[in-house]
């Protein structure tokens, strides 16, 4: 297997090289492009580490949506004179500290115990009771359901934080940061052809998550990307942030999750416990609502804070 080892070494070197480029590139745009390529290669590393679920999330969120946000910011930030870099003393101290941390972590990696601790057998053993075939989905939605519940709330909290950056007079309006005044014909074609396929892929990822890599987060991310494409070209309008419908969609996933979790006190004997025999349909219902809420939350996060009610070119 020396060919595989050499390939992995090349991959690791390439990733480190791109990380260095991201740190030293002269323009912000160049740095972000390097970071996107980095994200793509990290997704390949996740495949090599046998974590395809993580690779899907990294490709869709880490490289796709994050790249969109950062590239959009890099293209729009004013190019002012570079601020003064910190003095030699601080840079030397930071270098020593960072090198020490990296060396410590490297030592930990090299000295890991031979018999690695793992919860994989326990996670796999109880899957049939849930009616699932993908242990990662089982962990996300059943064993560690509290994490996933809180995580879906974190997205809503981030959105509230983003919306509170709006000026007072703009509150309640539609997010307007994405609308292109004059989209190119090629882009309009993309926004007309891609979303039908993308919606199919998003729903497929949510559905297949029960038995194979995929799930609510990956599916929701793809759906959000498709929505954002239509927002950029003006094919759809972003909803008013004060509207009741959009807020209902935002909380539908976490609320259903919480309601079923609380019902678990009576039906399953504990918070977030599923009654025996009904685990699979309940999990599917939660996943479906979560996919929708995650898609809406991610799309609105990309759309930015609301602008004035009238809007510049509404």
């Amino acid at each position: 297997m020396s060919v595989a080892l050499a390939a992995d070494a090349g991959l690791a070197l390439l990733i480190l090289g791109l990380a260095v480029w991201t740190s030293i590139a002269r323009t912000a745009g160049g740095a972000v492009i390097g970071f996107m390529a980095y994200g793509l290669l990290v997704a390949l590393v996740w495949v090599r580490l046998a974590a395809v679920d993580v690779a899907l999330t990294e490709a869709a969120l880490g490289s796709g949506l994050t790249g969109f946000v950062l590239l959009g910011a890099a293209a729009r930030l004013p190019r002012d004179a570079p601020a003064a870099r910190p003095g030699w003393g601080l840079r030397l101290a930071a270098g020593v500290v960072s090198a020490a941390v990296a060396a410590g972590l490297a030592a930990v990696v090299l000295l890991l115990p031979v018999s690695a601790p793992t919860l994989a057998p326990a996670a796999t053993a109880n899957l049939p009771a849930l009616g699932l075939g993908n242990p990662v989905t089982g962990v996300l939605i059943a064993y560690r359901a509290i994490d996933t519940l809180l995580e879906s709330v974190v997205l809503v909290l981030a959105l509230i934080g983003l919306w509170s950056l709006a000026r007072d007079g703009d509150w309640g309006g539609r997010p307007g940061a994405l609308r292109s005044a004059d989209p190119s014909p090629a882009l309009v074609l993309l926004a007309q052809v891609l979303p039908p396929l993308g919606i199919l892929v998003g729903i497929y990822l949510f559905w297949t998550g029960a038995i194979a890599p995929g799930g609510a987060f990956q599916g929701g991310t793809v759906l959000a990307a498709m929505w954002v494409l239509t927002l950029v070209t003006g094919l759809t309008r972003p909803p008013r942030v004060g509207g009741r419908g959009v807020r209902l969609l935002l909380v539908a996933g976490p609320a259903l999750f919480l309601a079923i979790g609380v019902a678990g006190f009576w039906l399953g004997g504990a918070f977030l416990a599923y009654p025996a025999g009904y685990a699979k349909p309940l999990i599917l219902a939660i996943e479906a609502a979560l996919t929708l809420s995650i898609a809406v939350a991610l799309g609105l996060l990309l759309a930015g804070p609301p602008l004035a009610q009238s809007g510049p070119r509404a």
Binding site: I33, A59, G64, A181, L205, T208, V228
Partner: protein, 101 residues
């Protein structure tokens, strides 16, 4: 057969990665973005080959997602969108309605 596919995946990835490393120096952002785009296509091809060679579930789906979102991030960089036509963010607008003065 699977060894051949693995080596082909390696060749594709190595080739596009080499192009990326050279082209990241520029001269323009368009060059850098096209090199990143080529890395994306090469990554998709390598994943398809890897998925068939090792028969891993989900790798083809990963390639599908990467191909679906290949153009997505680039759209943010080259489309003039937003209220100010995609140019730099406006600085401290004087005509803010809630300002008392």
């Amino acid at each position: 057969m699977s060894e051949f596919l693995l080596i082909a995946a390696l060749c594709v990835l190595g080739t596009v990665a080499l192009g990326l490393v050279v082209i990241l120096r520029g001269p323009t952002e368009a060059d850098r973005l096209s090199a990143a785009q080529l890395l994306g296509t090469g990554g998709v091809a390598a994943l398809l080959l890897l998925g068939v060679a090792t028969d891993t579930t989900g790798v083809a789906d990963l390639a599908l997602v990467l191909a679906l979102l290949a153009a997505f991030a680039a759209v943010a960089f080259i489309t003039p969108f937003g209220t100010n036509g995609g140019r730099a963010d406006p600085v401290a607008q004087p005509d803010r309605p809630q300002d008392p003065e």
